[in-house]
Symmetry: C2
Subunit: 217 residues, 2 copies
């Protein structure tokens, strides 16, 4: 169990692995996936699903909250501070086209986390100035989950690593076989979707990512 | 100007015409549309746009708020209590797949309106029990804006009219040339999208709907 007096932001300090999950096709599949990831001690789990209607999305969020409460895994809701409040999530993650950090906090209150996706050094500086709790940096590699008109690449990771004063997670197309390039760019924190949740054994994939991220510590 | 001490719910009593607007393709088109509708004294305007990213949707919502403030037109946000709070909307409208009335109020507070779409008599009773401020009833006719696997039709309107204790707006495919069937079903309140906002002259369409709804009063 996690002592109740450790705020979510303090729990980011030692975090390494952030996993993005969708709502899956049914509740049973979703519970199985989350259960494996929580047992594998993922540091953060983000619920991101653009297909589900709000009522079902909130139901999935409440399951995620129930399954992570009292564990080392933080629960972050994508985009939606309203759903984060209703599901008692630990925070909200927003992109550059979504609500601003200040707007999210207006709904969320001061005690939950707000994370921001960044794709340029200017956006990294802005997120720091806006008071984000953490940033995502990417896309690192072309992704199979989300298509971008561009990808920021490893050069951006090196710039971001030297700029950021916040916990920063590299994201976008990261897999075990390219993770070394990410680490060499100065990142020891990564956010991963498909490479873990759509793998044959998500919990085993988590263990392999964690081992690779912890090497040479 | 509307006296500040008249609560939004009291302003529903004499309402007749509820118009649904999307965000249009650009801000200028949106301002032109809203301007015409507010000058034509539409009773309620709902912003509903599933295409826009949150940042742009909120920007449209703030424009709608600015253009309706102090006018007889109430501003309702579709689905999203977070955006309604941030834009200072008069209320939120939810469907059966969206958040519940109670969940919306948890984000919205007690003083703004919550409306619910209903498609069956059981849903009408549930909305009343849940404390909704108003209901939408439909779809009345096959709609060109939103496709349903079914449509509730005029029989449902007659049932809903005899059941409801709340202000109720017939919705779904309503046009000037079928409005009489709606009125004969017991409804003097309607919600209209395309038939007004995509007409050649939205303000003139509003005037014609208002005249038809006021006839025989």
């Amino acid at each position: 169990m996690i002592p109740a007096d450790i705020p979510p932001s303090a729990r980011l300090v030692n975090s390494r692995l952030y996993v993005l999950v969708d709502g899956r096709n049914d509740e049973r599949q979703f519970r199985d996936l989350v259960s494996g990831l929580v047992e594998a001690k993922v540091d953060l789990l983000q619920l991101r699903d653009k297909r589900l209607a709000d009522r079902e999305l909130l139901q999935r969020a409440r399951i995620l909250r129930q399954m992570t409460r009292g564990t080392p895994t933080l629960f972050i809701m994508n985009d939606r501070p309203d759903l984060a409040v209703l599901a008692d999530a630990d925070g909200v993650h927003v992109g550059q086209e979504e609500l601003t950090v200040q707007e999210v906090r207006q709904i969320l209150g001061p005690h939950r986390l707000v994370g921001v996706s960044t794709h340029t050094v200017l956006q990294v500086r802005q997120a720091i100035a806006d008071g984000a709790d953490y940033i995502g940096c990417g896309p690192t590699f072309p992704s199979i989950t989300k298509s971008f008109a561009y990808f920021s690449g490893l050069k951006f990771l090196r710039q971001a690593a030297s700029e950021t004063t916040l916990p920063a997670y590299a994201i976008g197309g990261i897999q075990l076989d390219n993770l070394n390039q990410v680490i060499e760019s100065g990142f020891r924190r990564v956010a991963v979707g498909a490479a873990i949740v759509d793998s044959a054994d998500p919990a085993r994939s988590v263990a392999m990512f964690r081992a690779a991220l912890a090497a040479d510590d």
